[in-house]
Symmetry: D2
Subunit: 264 residues, 4 copies
Amino acid sequence: ELGEFVEEINIVKPEFVRSFEFESKLMPCTWIVVRLDGCHFHRFSEIHEFVKPNDERALNLMNTCAMAMLEEFQQDIIFAYGVSDEYSFILNSSSNLYQRRASKIISAMVSFFTSMYVMRWKDFFPQKQLNYPPYFDARAVCYPSRNILRDYLSWRQVDCHINNQYNTCFWKLVASGKSKREAQESLKGAQLQKKVEELAIDYNKLQIMFRQGSSVFWDEGNNIVAHQENGGSTGSNRKVVIEHCDIIGSTFWLEHPNILNEKQ
Amino acid sequence: ELGEFVEEINIVKPEFVRSFEFESKLMPCTWIVVRLDGCHFHRFSEIHEFVKPNDERALNLMNTCAMAMLEEFQQDIIFAYGVSDEYSFILNSSSNLYQRRASKIISAMVSFFTSMYVMRWKDFFPQKQLNYPPYFDARAVCYPSRNILRDYLSWRQVDCHINNQYNTCFWKLVASGKSKREAQESLKGAQLQKKVEELAIDYNKLQIMFRQGSSVFWDEGNNIVAHQENGGSTGSNRKVVIEHCDIIGSTFWLEHPNILNEKQ
Amino acid sequence: ELGEFVEEINIVKPEFVRSFEFESKLMPCTWIVVRLDGCHFHRFSEIHEFVKPNDERALNLMNTCAMAMLEEFQQDIIFAYGVSDEYSFILNSSSNLYQRRASKIISAMVSFFTSMYVMRWKDFFPQKQLNYPPYFDARAVCYPSRNILRDYLSWRQVDCHINNQYNTCFWKLVASGKSKREAQESLKGAQLQKKVEELAIDYNKLQIMFRQGSSVFWDEGNNIVAHQENGGSTGSNRKVVIEHCDIIGSTFWLEHPNILNEKQ
Amino acid sequence: ELGEFVEEINIVKPEFVRSFEFESKLMPCTWIVVRLDGCHFHRFSEIHEFVKPNDERALNLMNTCAMAMLEEFQQDIIFAYGVSDEYSFILNSSSNLYQRRASKIISAMVSFFTSMYVMRWKDFFPQKQLNYPPYFDARAVCYPSRNILRDYLSWRQVDCHINNQYNTCFWKLVASGKSKREAQESLKGAQLQKKVEELAIDYNKLQIMFRQGSSVFWDEGNNIVAHQENGGSTGSNRKVVIEHCDIIGSTFWLEHPNILNEKQ
């Protein structure tokens, strides 16, 4: 039996088969954004009974996974911003993770995130078992300058704001007895700002995480490392933190100059 | 507070930010292979005490995930072949999954697989908790013809065979008291076939899954669907099966003509 | 002076600068089409007083360049099809020209073609000097099978037919005294076949090159190479020929089985 | 005859055939370099009897073509640098030429350059007819910042310097009676700076164009456009100029701040 198999081995030509492989490399010295998005999360959130319009447990689970991402890819991911079932991870422009091969970066990151999501599920939804495997897709985009990268992040936070206004109005209408269809009709083309007032929603009282999304980054700690017992390596004071704040204006970035400070 | 934020919204220009996105589309009418590989699984298998050289539980977990993949992407994945911590999924040349966008295909597939891997872990390793999240990377390659696709699959199965011979010898040497370094030295450049004999390994007695890897595909069932009780839709007789067999020779493919039969 | 310059040399880091280069390789074992198109040839043809709707001299110049292309890239280009200011060159699926790097293939081909076009201009337009440099753009597309490649060629020949019908009607209307605008209006949405009859155009009497475009390929010659005086190498009997014929139906391809016969 | 043809038209599916086309777009807001290189110019320069190591006529022809390029693509090309049979064209980071499609940019540029080269040949080589069509290949590279773009240009100018030293030594050795092979041997691994002195070459007396290459750019003219007779539009004073100077140091760029001044 084996004899035949061994003969077959010789007719296989790995170089030929591998010549079809291609590497799409991300441009050096640009800021890489890897954005993850839940696949079919509309259905997933219904079946797993997420609170509407925002489920705190689900958001905290997402945030926990994001924080683990920064720990796992700590040489590379410098910032992350999340809202709903989406998370954007920013890689330093000087990062050489996987030699900047797009497929490898995208796949390893989405896989690690997903793995963590399933592992930690029970900590956030102790009463509710996973009915089927949740999954995410991911894509990479490069931005050639800090300013354009900040435009990207602003775009995501504006989206968070608009979606949250819409969803808050929508579920308020549904709570008031309208059908989902009627709620949708009533919001079509409406100025959300006015609708919020009309529906007597005290928007600024909503949890800030719902309004601003979540920003995850490294807090460099104070520089006085007096008596470090275990004699830890440099940077042992760094820790991953999460904030819910305006990342569109300059204030945040001026207060955290290290985040986008190219390491080159 | 909000007033300032609302002003900021107007300076964000989504079209500009989105102009940096790019789509890498996989060539139509070609066979897409998505190959997943465990990241740092050497360490993962040690920490989770996989049996060497082959851990049946780990392989069965991989196979279970692969079978779930065929169910989830049933319009698209027609065949899968796995060995060790690697799995190749073949998409039909006529597939239009995610409009053949590479990032989306790669990321959704690796994410679903990972999700299933973590969810089902406890069924295969009931005594052993996951210490940290396992993850995989993935890549896509296209092949323009059935013949070259079969060359690809042959290449993977030959690799399975060579690696299994090597690993079987290696761990036999270690079991006999050699250090890992000595075992490695003793196998450097050796003819594996001879080493197998020398070490009195009855290779053909090894479990066939270890020697041939695992092939997952749709069994179309018999065509006489006499009295289907629940009046199921067409194809309800299809089911995903797994076999451990030679996929290099023609026999397997002649016996399963439907697998690579382009649907066009 | 030089001293300073020499110091500067040392600060330049070629590997860094070259790390931004990328190669887009065309998939192996697929048929490559490189299609050239005149840039701003509407204006070019007016200024150089091309006869409308078809200028025989201009087409013959294009054909001459195409034939030279087959001679220059004789290991690679197996067929070419041209119409108006456009030409498609087909590279054998087994071609490894420039390791199938897209930029190099596209640029070298369009440059050679252009060079020949300008060099030979005076032979076809002896009375008319080039007023300014004509130029072409080019793109590459890959097709995974002979059948789809033939679909491509059929598409171009159908386009030739439709455009020729349209232009013949258009210029007949202009000749009859209508303004270009009126001619355009009168043809908008019209069934061209009917218009041709209505305008009493004896379409089949038009020169076949105008109706069918031009096909350029290698004629393998007869195989009896009795006494070759200069002792030429194998294949010395091959010569490039041009025909104006139907390439949509099977007849042409059955009569010339060598053209698309993969060399592998 | 036509009847059959008309039937054939209906079976052609342009959308299908076009689905194989792909666009490789160059990243927005990055500096695009299109570098042209002579194909087989070693042979071309021998057959057309170029003076060695540098042929002034050939370089002036290249420069003339480069200047025409800036005129033709005047919204886009802001600078060009040439040496030997190579020329690099820099497109503004804000350029949207052909929607930044790589194939189109590369092909149109190399085609225009080639066209001009052949048209103007006789002005620089009046005694020598073109024996066969010269041609060039081309590639595009993007750089995300002005600094890295300047690194690129420095790299090219250093290359110019090194090659010119080498070639000057080589041809001096050949002139002194050595064979080409001997000359090559004698220079292998040598420190060029020393060799130049050893061979008593007064390097700084060599024509500056040979030593520094050629830089082509827009001279914005003086800003006092008092009484412009034809009421020309802004910028009518701009003209393309050529200089042979150090572009590695800062001096040149400080003196010409407009060149790399993003237009955004």
